[in-house]
Amino acid sequence: MTTASLPAKHPTGNQNRWKTVRKQLPNYLFILPHYFFFAVFLLYPIFRGVQISLFDWKIMLKDQKFIGVANYQALMSDKIFWEVLGNTGQFMVITVIINVIIALFVATGLKHGFFGSDFLRVLFYAPGILSVSVLGIIGIRVWDTQIGIINYFVTTMLGGPRISWLGNPDIVIPALSITTVWWTFGFPMLVFIAGLQNIPEPLYEAAKIDGANPLRTFRHITLPLITPTMLFVVVTQFIAHMQVFAQPYIISGGGPGNASRSATMYLYETAWKFFRFGYASSISVVLALVMIVVTVILFSMMRQRTEY
């Protein structure tokens, strides 16, 4: 039996693309609502914010005064901006480092299920479900100079001096950081637990057979293999804590002086207390740029992955 072979009819490039688009169309439709809201509520405000930063924006004026990059020039010589940016950086560094260390430490302990491990996971995650207002009230009570529980232990049990935790410019940010760590370390802990559980168990068994002690095992197996998780945790923590607002706003009021005022707090005040919307927009643009640059640096630093 012979078969006559007809010349194959190959689709053209355009037809291929159209076919692919038609095939993918349902997927696009699924994400369309998200992109619609993303465009309306995020993309447009971002564009508008950048635009407003180029004006001396008055809320009631119909014709706004274009001033180019004058807001940015003023920002570069604004001592308060640099001070609050420094405060924010200090808060972020302290909080991220302690959060990562404690979360990883606790996750390592809770990686394997044991009696009470579920309870402990909930216990450590529990502060995270509190609203920031509640956290603020707790923070005020805990760090209070006169009736705070910390000073109770310091003075009554340790016989130490009454410390003005929120009134001393040198220790107010660490106090806010510690409060925040207590509140937020549950999330990175859970992420680390998930990451640790993805590391193949035979690697640990092999290391054990080779006589590696727990410290070396952690350094040479756990740490390298958890790098992608670490990158995720560090980047998300960095972004979250660079935007710190409510903790200093509620607990210390940004004081004493500007000692605990954060960049977002300054941004809020500039817009909604001083009605300098153009200048506030320039602050938000610069803050966003700083965060984008640092995030890219973090990605490039931690991009390297280890596989065994």
């Binding site: 809320i59 009631m60 004026l61 491990s117 509190l130 009570r141 929120l166 009134g167 410019p169 210390s252």
Partner: protein
């Protein structure tokens, strides 16, 4: 085992849910809070008033097109204010009211955005100090043609200093509802216990320190000028550094200093007089130990006062409400002009006002209703005085029922005699934030360099003033 663990977890989640549904612990008032809320927030801490719920959103009367009023009177004076609004709708059945009270920071977010969006309330109430800024932002309707020029209200019957403060480019932008500000409240019993005559008050800074050292007592009964005084465990303080927004301008003016020069062009926060004024407070806290250090979150003066742990309390006229709700405390309390801390005994006190205004963009119907309400509220100052605030009209201040409220009578006399208001400026709130921050830095620690902190604030304020 696992079941037990899961059970414990569920129990804990349940416990957290229950605790989350429970009432939160009362927080100490922030120093930067509004006057009205400061008194009100602090009251529950002292387990004081709160006999009646605080009115936040209230409707009075029934109609399709209510007069919408936004304000920040959510504190202890809010209940009196709500009663006034009820009296208004009872007297004017053709008008109904929708009264919405907000914390001040929320108010100042909603107000400009509502005006910009073309949906303003018919009437707003905020402070005289902020009028210049709001007027320059284009948020206010001038009131001369609305209520003064036709003789409905007589401008001369209001405090002249106050009227000047709310006049922008020759136009009066608001109608004062009251005068409120600092007044000296002092505990006569603690003075007598210390062997002092409650009718003889210190007349200047030096005399005050002398008296304050006799009054301040630690838990062992020792005074700050005695060997072994325990500054960390003080039982009775002579004075407290209450709300800096009123305390500092008052002290600066007593010393001959200020924040900005009279012409509004030069920052004067670092002048020798201003530095001396703030240094005096620093010394009261860290040198003489007669005032608790000014740290964030510190206990409200009212709590100390209520517990007989504070003798001289520089507090607002609205404290009258607190006294009304605490007759045992009121029985031991007298009021007087704010005592001078200056070397020469120069007297000055800061006062402000709740002002009523019509936002830009309100239609004629809304303006007519607002005018009616404003007139009623101003003329009902005698009832408003029961909240502790001083009526705006001098003719009402002189009424017997007002004069019978001792603190109101004293405050009215004080404001008319030595009262001063903040300098009006389009960047008022930014300037205020700058000096509050600088003073906060100056008073934060015992080793703070007061002059350097005020110089930094001065530079910042000058930069604001120099802005085109």
């Amino acid at each position: 085992m696992r079941k037990l663990s899961v059970g414990l977890t569920l129990l804990m989640v349940l416990a957290m849910l229950i605790s989350a549904c429970g009432g939160a612990a009362p927080a100490a008032p922030a120093d930067t809070g509004a006057a009205d809320t400061a008194a009100a927030d602090a009251a529950p801490v002292a387990e004081a008033p709160a006999a009646e719920p605080t009115p936040v959103v209230n409707n009075f009367g029934e109609c399709d097109d209510p007069l919408v009023l936004w304000h920040g009177l959510t504190g202890s004076d809010g209940a009196v204010f709500a009663e006034l609004l009820k009296q208004f709708t009872d007297a004017n059945p053709d008008v109904c009211l929708n009264s919405e009270g907000y914390p001040w920071d929320i108010f100042f977010q909603k107000y400009p955005t509502a005006v910009a969006a073309g949906t303003p309330p018919d009437m707003v109430i905020f402070h005289a100090a902020e009028v210049n800024q709001m007027a320059h932002e284009g948020l206010m309707t001038p009131m001369d043609d609305v209520i003064f020029n036709d003789g409905t209200l007589n401008k001369a019957d209001f405090n002249e200093v106050l009227i000047n403060g709310i006049t922008v480019d020759g136009q009066t932008m608001a109608v004062p509802f009251d005068n409120h500000g600092w007044l000296l409240w002092y505990n006569t019993k603690l003075m007598e216990d210390a062997g002092l005559d409650p009718n003889v008050l210190p007349a200047n800074g030096a005399e005050f320190i002398e008296v304050a050292q006799k009054l301040t007592t630690d838990v062992n009964g020792k005074h700050p000028n005695e060997e072994g005084f325990d500054k960390d465990n003080v039982q009775i303080w002579a004075i407290d550094y209450t709300w800096p927004r009123f305390t500092i301008p008052t002290t600066l003016w007593q010393f001959g200093g200020g924040v900005v020069s009279e012409d509004g062009k030069t920052a004067t926060l670092s002048s020798p007089e201003s530095v001396a004024a703030v240094q005096f407070w620093h010394d009261l806290m860290y040198k003489y130990y007669v005032a608790p250090p000014a740290v964030p979150g510190k206990m409200w003066a009212g709590d100390l006062y209520k517990n007989n742990q504070l003798v001289f309390m520089w507090e607002g006229t609205w404290t009258g409400g607190f006294m009304r709700d605490n007759p045992d405390v009121a029985a031991l309390t007298k009021t007087a002009f704010i005592n001078s801390l200056a070397p020469d005994g120069n007297q000055a006190v800061k006062f402000d006002s709740h002002i009523m205004s019509i936002p830009t963009g309100v239609d004629q119907d809304g303006m007519d209703k607002a005018k009616k309400l404003m007139t009623f509220l101003v003329q009902s100052g005698a009832y408003w005085a029961t909240s502790g605030q001083v009526p705006a009209l001098k003719s009402v201040q002189a009424l017997p029922e007002v004069q019978s409220i001792a603190s109101v009578a004293k405050a009215a006399e004080q404001f008319n005699a030595i009262g001063r208001t903040d300098l009006a400026h389009p960047a008022f709130i930014e300037i205020q934030t700058a000096w509050e921050t600088a003073v906060g830095n100056a008073l934060a620690t015992p080793d703070a360099d007061v002059a350097a902190a005020l110089q930094a604030g001065n530079d910042q304020i000058q930069a604001i003033l120099d802005r085109p």
